[in-house]
Symmetry: C2
Subunit: 283 residues, 2 copies
């Protein structure tokens, strides 16, 4: 099965034990740069902004899975940007349970909070081996002072993050377990697609079901059952760590998913609906 369309979020071949080891220079600018692909959704960047962003994000490092990027309580330092892999915002509760409040995919910023807040009220950690860019605060300051289009775009990104957070809250509060799982998968497909990490309805999700449970506010056991039920209903299928959405329309409908809150460009939105899934094999 060559080139199934599913791309890898992690890069296990490099997942060495060193924490900040391999430094890599990316080549093109827009080509495979997820940050640029994402920020382009805002629709305000011009060619020269892209090169500037490209330059800023050219030096990244690898970090293992299940490592903290920033711990709760720490004062925020540099801004971090995900280039590959997967991370999350999370809090540990007194009773030992974990609550994951956001999933960070390639192209997402970890904390534009910069130094405005005195301490992190939550931690950020990787879920899979990831490639991260550290952006020194001075560069952010420079951008916000001298690059109004980029500044506006960064604003846009934080607003979208907040919108996603709100939608997760809706899911938690008013959707039942199975819809909640479905809704998350819908969102992920769309978010990953905008950074070219999903094709033909398939994407890699290199996390275990316990992590999924902590994102969904459910128990591990129930997540398992709901995934099985979604598979049995022919809405999705899962093999290994890759998720495939069979009937996007049906899944969106079932989950009550409306991509409006992601504030995508018209172009991306259209691409979504057009290219369809693997099959229209709805029962």
């Amino acid at each position: 099965v060559p080139e199934v369309g599913a791309m890898r979020l992690d890069e296990p071949e490099h997942s060495a034990t060193e924490r900040r080891s391999i430094i890599m220079k990316s080549i093109g600018h827009s080509g495979g740069n997820p940050a640029i692909l994402k920020l382009n959704q805002a629709g305000t960047l011009e060619e020269r902004d892209l090169s500037k962003l490209s330059a800023i994000t050219c030096t990244s490092y690898l970090i293992d899975g299940k490592r903290d990027i920033i711990q709760q309580g720490e004062p925020p330092k540099d801004v971090h940007l995900m280039m590959s892999g997967l991370a999350c915002r999370y809090k540990m509760l007194p009773d030992g349970s974990r609550s994951i409040m956001a999933l960070l995919v390639p192209g997402d910023f970890c904390d534009l909070h910069v130094a405005i807040l005195g301490h992190m009220d939550h931690g950020i950690g990787t879920l899979a081996p990831s490639r991260v860019v550290d952006i020194p605060r001075e560069i952010i300051d420079d951008l916000t002072s001298n690059e109004p289009r980029i500044t506006r775009t960064l604003w846009w990104a934080t607003l979208v993050d907040e919108a996603i957070l709100r939608e997760w809250l809706v899911s938690m509060g008013r959707r039942r377990a199975m819809e909640r799982v479905a809704h998350l998968l819908c969102e992920l497909e769309v978010r990953l697609k905008t950074v070219h990490l999903s094709e033909g309805g398939s994407f890699e999700l290199p996390i275990n079901q316990e992590t999924l449970a902590d994102m969904l506010g459910m128990s591990l056991v129930h997540v398992n059952r709901m995934l099985q039920k979604l598979s049995k209903d022919r809405l999705i299928s899962i093999s290994g760590k890759t998720v495939t959405i069979h009937d996007r329309a049906a899944l969106w409908d079932f989950a009550g998913f409306d991509p409006g809150y992601l504030h995508l460009s018209r172009h991306s939105l259209a691409a979504l609906v057009d290219v369809g899934c693997v099959a229209e094999a709805s029962a």
Copy 2:
């Protein structure tokens, strides 16, 4: 019982039927201006910033309860600022249920989103008669161009909003109903206290239990039972629309409440712990 300490969030005496009727000029600057009281928490404003903010917020209008300030789908226009009353961010779901994703108390901004996002992905509506300031976009633009301290403070405010949102998500996902109710009351007391709308553990909460249910992702019936149980356990008491916290330490402990996420000034935080509640009548 003169001057019980509970202050009014609404102003029913003025709650006329006209939507945008009475225009009022506030007198002092810091005195009773909730926006200034709140923004001062960021700790970066100086005297001249305060007067500037004071000037901006001097013209407000009344709006009835249960009215939309902005509807979902609309393009955002002016920024709105709550001066009194109570409002919320909300979404209506296809099945007719409502999800409230944020509570806006005096001093909160409704949507610094300004024009960056093309459309509102949620609505904002009043829950009680409220006094609101419309801030034209040009003024925001002016501030962000010419007033770095104020800009930074507005940033701070949106970051705190986001932190609150995250904490609500934690509540929804990982706290049981009773803790969730308790946690919300803890948060409200603190937030209202910073704008001088709570004293001696008492504050006004002019909303019905159905609204509370929509905020907590619960059913009306269960909210009712949980409130009764909290009362029976002597943690709180409710009479009419005023809530009183009897044993703050016990309530915080029960709810797992840690005010860190509100990013208050050291000063405000200290004031909280010191002044205590009405009594230490813990069972």
